[in-house]
Amino acid sequence: MLHELTLSGLTSKLASKEVSSRDAMQACLDRIAAVDGQVNAFMSIDRDDALSQADAADAALAKGNTHIAQPLLGVPISLKDLFCAKGQPANCSSKILGDFHSPYDGTAVRKLRDAGAVLFGRVNMDEFAMGSSTENSAFGRSNNPWDLERVPGGSSGGCAASVAAQECFGSIGTDTGGSIRQPAALCGCVGLKPTYGRVSRYGVVAFASSLDQVGPLTKDVRDSATLLGAMSGHDPHDSTSVPTDVPDYVAELGGDLKGIKLGLPREFLIDGIDPEVRAAFDAAVKQCEALGAEIHEVSMPHTEYGVATYYIVATAEASANLARFDGIRYGDRVDGDDPFSLYCNTRGRGFGEEVKRRIILGTYVLSSGYYDAYYLRAQKARTLIKRDFEQAFETVDALITPTVPSPAFKAGEKMDDPLQMYLSDIFTISCNLAGTCGISLPCGFSNEPKLPIGLQFLGKPFGESQLLQIAHAYEQATPWHTERASL
């Protein structure tokens, strides 16, 4: 079946004219019609637009355009609901944006289009990327294709679910504290968070500006390398994007782990890791060793401050970033007698509970008299966490950790306990604070129910090429990436 192909599997069939982009797009639409009623990954699909993009890709292929020049030519890709694509909605799974349609293409979207991708469908997320389960969506939760009673993770839960349910050939999400890697782990796919500054943030509705990064969710490591290559590079519209050369990530894949030094951070292997996750992780470490890697225990002494630091920095930035949703220029407005009551009515009705909680927290930590105790201290802690990474990378090439302490949890299980929910990001958060890159890929399954378990590698800043090589070597030596959820 066409929808079962990987991205690279599809492009080779497109190149040999075995299938057309329209076939591929139609296969996705059929698959969505068949399973998305259960998964609920997609918020909206512009079918006509999707098929006409596919036809345009077929015309380009017929004209002789190749995947060397346009590596995504004809490939259907889904987008998290916070990417701005001209003429398309960008709701961020929130009610507050109403019928807002973006008047412009963001840079990642434009680069994907330039690479020939068929960008279709907007997938679900936690409202404004705030959450770890996609339960904070104003339009209903998405379900984990491996067990529909369970969450797909978040905030890019719709991305991970759409990939795991084989409704698209890849999906683009964002990762602020683990929002790509954590759902990738819970849904059994590959999720890559690039180094801060690697992919432009222009056209991505901001949650926490100093932490957000755009990245791919795919069926395997090679597909992530392809999508990363298409989106990376300096952007004059984003002054935090870095003018570093973009390597050919796909061409550099291959090889084994001989001579690679992997760091095992002592502070990550805490009590409270699910035993099946721990066992899968230990086996993965052994597998890496068997593939030639040297395993070194390293210390990341400030790890314990990660979650607290993150929730101060991220909420502070979010409190300002989300101020613009005020009902004045776009989105839903609930009128009032004066601007103040208009703001209160609009934002009171438009935002969900978790978003309000974080805006209030962020406002508080920046308030006069509290700034030094919270925001300033958090910035100092962030510097220490970053230093932990720098020191670790002096002796090792990458870190190896579990992605999440436990497999996917049941919907509703953690909704009443935000702190428990926040802890599901405990292994992914420090990577964002340090600004470096990380990848999650499948490393096994739990028994009863069978749920995917994620393995995380964290790489040096702008070391995506090596990170992908390591992940690829592990992936190719193990069977996990070939397993699919039965829907």
Binding site: L82, F83, C84, A90, C92, L97, F100, S102, P103, Y104, G106, R201, Y202, G203, V204, V205, A206, A208, S209, S210, P236, H237, D238, S239, T240, A316, E317, S319, A320, A323, R324, F325, D326, I328, R329, Y330, P339, F340, Y343, T363, L366, S367, S368, Y371, Y375
Partner: protein, 474 residues
């Protein structure tokens, strides 16, 4: 009790850039509402600010012109507040690490030179403009994102007039440096005034009142002249002043309370994460420094000192830089700077205004004015002849000596010819001649007139006088 007024100003000036601070929209006044806008300056979801390089250069240059330090580290911050004219509901500004710090402005006031210290001059973005109609309000975002330089002074000003002169001096400096056009009509300059009073001799500052958003210098002067007596009267009545923000009502001519310190906003400043900190390189700064210009006051002092011209003349050359430049070229190597200044100011400037031309378009070189003054001083031509030479220069160009020749304007100073004319006048007018001989010196003017008439104006009047005296007294 005698009180002393203490004033500090925060002056906002729009920078002279082609585009806005963080996007490519044109920085232009007077367009139809919401036509110079884009997703960035409208605060659409997902957009990012990218600092305008030219605005950063102008900010550093303004710092140098205000004798400020330009530190090696600066950053942008977000100032959070909800208001419909703020498209992001925060303003990007500079809080604790501004682009320039600790400078001063020297200016003329009360017959001397005063110095006002500058705390800082930082860059920020302007907001939109609200309009209120019968049933609704509107916001024009054309101005949103226009680069603004905020120049904060220390509380060194002591009166409304002094504040007024400081603002004029500041404006002149900024126009000089090409930092801003400072067009008041277009709202390019606005200021907030901090005023307090204290018993004369007291060290401690009184309670500060801020008057917001003054957009004319004269309005500011009137507001201070209203506010100072109000504060003094309040204190004299035994009342207390509260730290507050007041609004100036230009029509009623009064200030009224907007909000007190307790109601003040908490702006929750924090570093702008979308823009990397600014670390200007030495080469970038030296390129900026190459655009430093001479300040107006320094120019005035130099003109007075170096050329010995009166202060009023120097003021003309400070106010009209091209004309001053022309004067400097004309005066180079000349003896009579004052005469050259007179010609440049009284004749040249007048003709330039009259004909609507510019100094750059003149048909003659500055040296021609020097030559013209030279031949007048040498007695080659009369002042009247000089006017004719100047007209010819202005209209067709050329060299003064050639014009004199071509138009036959040279005065006769040759003694033989003059002796003949003078003797003839004495002979024809024995009465006045005798009067002179008898000591009535004024009578010589009649004889002089006769000689001038006979020479058809070409005789050098000074030599004529000398010759007549010689002939009558011999």
């Amino acid at each position: 009790m005698e009180y002393e007024t203490v004033i500090g100003l925060e002056t906002h000036v729009q920078l002279k850039t082609k585009s806005k601070m963080f996007c490519g929209c044109v920085n232009q006044f007077g367009s139809e509402p919401n036509t110079n806008v884009c997703p960035v300056c409208l605060g659409m979801p997902g957009v990012l600010p990218v600092p305008n390089e030219r605005a950063m250069q102008l900010t550093a240059l303004a710092g140098y012109l205000l004798n400020c330090e330009v530190p090696g580290f600066a950053k942008f911050d977000r100032k959070n507040y909800f208001y419909p004219d703020a498209s992001k509901d925060y303003q990007i500004t500079q809080f604790d690490f501004p682009s320039t710090t600790t400078g001063h402005v020297d200016f003329e006031f009360g017959g001397g030179i005063e110095r006002v210290r500058i705390t800082r001059a930082h860059i920020e973005e302007d907001v939109g403009k609200s309009s209120h109609f019968a049933q609704h309000s509107g916001v024009d975002f054309n101005r949103a994102g226009v680069p603004l330089l905020e120049i904060v002074s220390e509380p060194d000003l002591r009166s409304a007039d002094m504040a007024y002169e400081y603002l004029n001096a500041l404006k002149e400096i900024l126009i000089y440096g090409g930092i801003s056009d400072c067009d008041m009509e277009k709202g390019m300059v606005r200021c907030d005034v901090n005023i307090s009073v204290r018993p004369r001799g007291a060290e401690e500052l009184g309670v500060k009142v801020e008057i917001k958003n003054m957009n004319t210098f004269s309005g500011m002067r009137r507001a201070i002249n209203y506010e100072v007596p109000r504060q003094i009267e309040t204190l004299e009545r035994g009342g207390t002043l509260v730290q507050e923000t007041r609004r100036w009502d230009d029509i009623a001519g009064i200030t009224e309370s907007m909000r007190t310190k307790e109601q003040a906003h908490d702006y929750r400043y924090f570093p702008e994460p979308d823009i990397m900190p600014l670390k200007p390189s030495e080469s970038w700064l030296s390129e900026v420094r190459s655009h430093i210009v001479e300040l107006p006051l320094a120019r005035k002092q130099r003109f007075v000192l170096d050329y010995g011209i009166p202060a009023q003349d120097a003021d003309v050359f400070v106010g009209n830089v091209p004309l001053g430049g022309f004067f400097e070229q004309a005066v180079s190597g000349a003896k009579n700077a004052k005469a050259i200044a007179n010609w440049v100011i009284n004749n040249l400037q007048a003709r330039i205004v009259e004909t609507g031309t510019t100094v750059d378009e003149l048909k003659f070189e500055p040296a021609a004015i020097r030559e013209l003054v030279g031949i007048i001083d040498a007695g080659t031509i009369s002042n009247k002849g000089g006017q004719e030479v100047f007209s010819e220069l202005f209209e067709n160009g050329g060299a003064p000596e050639e014009i004199v020749e071509a138009k036959g304007l040279a005065q006769v100073s040759d003694s033989v010819e003059l002796d003949t004319w003078c003797q003839a006048a004495i002979d024809a007018n024995p009465g006045p001649a005798n009067d002179v001989r008898n000591g009535k010196d004024n009578a010589i003017n009649f004889l002089k007139g006769q000689v001038m008439k006979a020479s058809r104006g070409k005789a050098n009047p000074q030599v004529v006088g000398e010759t007549l005296a010689k002939l009558l007294k011999s």
